[in-house]
């Protein structure tokens, strides 16, 4: 393989990984903007989706149905987690909520371990067939599924947030919860909805990636954290920028791992995370803001 081909290959796999990270990053942003919680357990939704879909298909369920069930269950778990663990403590400080999501990460991971054990589970690709050649890169059919499904999801999310009253009221809760309550919007239901959306997005990421890698009970943390990297680079607020940042991050990670050594893959990924944090810190130092510009407008 020539260097050009190699780089094309790394680019392609970077974009595909980045797309998966973007699904997780979007979920994190949804939760953070609605409930101001940084959800360390986001990746567990993906692990749940992947493991559940894999088991359902093994038991003979059609793949499309299994995928739908897995995403639905992940969404329900997202809502359930909000109800049982986050809402009772919603008035506690951000520190407490953060620790609760760490606890959630442990508990969910533990439950996955109890149900599925430590063995990896596989899921067959959505469509069979040999990989396709696109430009200089060889791309599996499943990878195209990843990109196609994610694109559809992004369009649906865009329409949801800008064209539907439900989406607008969800945004309203994020912008000003008190005013939203005065409009009759049930903020807690909207928060639960945000967690369900995050659960669904996580579950979907798991279903999409399971055929490419294998599903294991502990696959979540690293995936969720990589979604975090993109969301943090994009400032934990903007959906489109989160997608862009996640894809960029996927590409950097893939190029780094490919050109240096795949043993260092996660090291490179989190080196980028630390670099991104430092970069944002420098930008903040230059800006020198201590209060948000919105808060400053009286």
């Amino acid at each position: 393989m020539t260097l050009t081909q190699q780089i094309a290959q790394f680019l392609a796999s970077g974009i595909i990984n980045g797309t998966i990270y973007a699904l997780l990053g979007l979920g994190l942003v949804a939760i953070h903007s609605a409930t101001r919680v940084v959800n360390v357990a986001q990746g567990e939704f993906a692990a749940l989706g992947a493991l559940l879909a894999s088991t359902l298909v093994t038991r003979g369920m059609p793949l499309s149905l299994a995928a739908a069930v897995a995403v639905g269950v992940a969404a329900a778990v997202g809502g359930g987690v909000y109800r049982t663990a986050i809402r009772p403590a919603r008035d506690a400080g951000p520190l407490t909520l953060l620790i609760i999501t760490i606890a959630l990460h442990l508990s969910l991971k533990g439950l996955l371990l109890l149900v599925w054990g430590t063995d990896p589970h596989s899921l067959r690709p959505f469509t069979a067939g040999p990989p396709l050649r696109i430009a200089a890169a060889v791309v599996t059919r499943q990878s195209l599924w990843v990109i196609a499904v994610t694109t559809v999801v992004l369009v649906v999310l865009y329409v949801f947030f800008t064209r539907t009253i439900l989406g607008k009221s969800l945004r309203a809760c994020a912008v000003n919860p008190t005013a939203a309550r005065l409009m009759g919007i049930r903020v807690e239901r909207m928060s639960a909805l945000a967690w369900m959306i995050a659960g669904a997005l996580g579950g979907l990421a798991g279903v999409l990636i399971a055929p490419l890698t294998l599903a294991t009970y502990d696959m979540g943390l690293i995936l969720g954290l990589k979604g975090f990297v993109g969301a943090v680079i994009a400032g934990m607020a903007s959906y489109p920028w989160t997608v862009a940042a996640c894809i960029l991050f996927g590409v950097v990670e893939s190029l780094g791992a490919g050109l240096i050594s795949s043993n260092y893959r996660d090291g490179i990924a989190f080196g980028v995370l630390i670099a991104a944090l430092l970069w944002r810190a420098l930008a903040a130092l230059r800006g020198g803001l201590i209060i948000s510009e919105e808060a400053a407008q009286e």
Partner: protein, 251 residues
């Protein structure tokens, strides 16, 4: 002083509410009739905002709240807006990153699904007739508007709920007198259309011209009430609330 039975829209008896340790409402009773504008005046910290927060259920309270002859038990803001009480909150509290149109539309949130889309669109047009200045800014983000226009959006958003009773918290706070005149004019128009309003305001002079009756609050209690014209002539009220900043500025 309370209006006779049939005319009473809102009747509050012995309302008690605490707001941290800072402000409190201590046994307030008041009423608002159908199509009536009632003002609550008083210095900052007298408990006016707490009163409105208690009425909408943003704060827990004790005492009796009756709307249209039926008790409002354990109010929560999500419920009271459905019962027909809508609040235009202090400092506007707009959805700042959202468009003017979306802000207004969300005002009608609890009607969506209950009423036709056309009815809501019709009310949207009604708001733009009341506030023509907003017509060209429908797509602008609320935070880019001037203070006066933001207040117009806040009032319009309150009206979009089609409330039986509109509560307003300091709608004139910090606005230039020219803008105050415009907004008072619009409120008079709204009242002529039959809207009941309970308005809390520090700018007693401006609001006593609009309201039929008024209550004066001090330290969490109603200390005086009566027809607005009577209160405006009351020497004690004049000294305390009409003297303040307006007249000293006249020199």
């Amino acid at each position: 002083m309370n209006a006779p039975g049939d005319d009473v829209l809102l009747a509050v008896e012995g309302l008690e509410a605490a707001y941290g340790q800072v402000q409190a409402v201590r046994g307030v009773s008041l009423s608002v009739g159908h199509s009536e504008v009632v003002a609550v005046i008083g210095a900052n910290g007298a408990g006016k905002t707490t009163l409105l927060r208690a009425l909408t259920g943003l704060l827990p309270s004790r005492g009796r709240i009756m709307l249209g002859g039926r008790p409002v038990a354990r109010p929560s803001p999500e419920e009271t807006v459905r019962l027909g009480i809508s609040l235009v909150p202090e400092r506007r509290q707009l959805f700042e990153s959202m468009s003017v149109r979306d802000n207004l539309l969300l005002g009608a949130y609890h009607r969506i699904g209950q009423e036709s889309r056309a009815a809501i669109e019709e009310d949207l047009r009604r708001v733009f007739v009341l506030f023509p200045a907003l017509v060209n800014r429908t797509a602008s983000r609320a935070r880019t508007l001037s203070g006066g226009m933001q207040q117009m959006v806040a009032i319009g958003r309150g009206l979009m709920a089609r409330p039986r009773l509109l509560l307003m918290d300091e709608p004139l706070l910090g606005l230039a007198p020219l803008v105050i005149r415009d907004i008072l004019g619009t409120l008079a128009q709204v009242q002529h259309q039959g809207q009941s309003i309970l308005i809390v305001e520090q700018n007693a002079k401006a609001v006593l011209g609009l309201a039929a009756r008024a209550y004066v609050m001090e330290a969490g209690r109603v200390v005086r009430h009566g027809p607005a014209t009577t209160l405006a002539q009351d020497p004690a009220v004049r000294a305390a609330y009409l003297g303040g900043h307006v007249e000293s500025a006249e020199g």
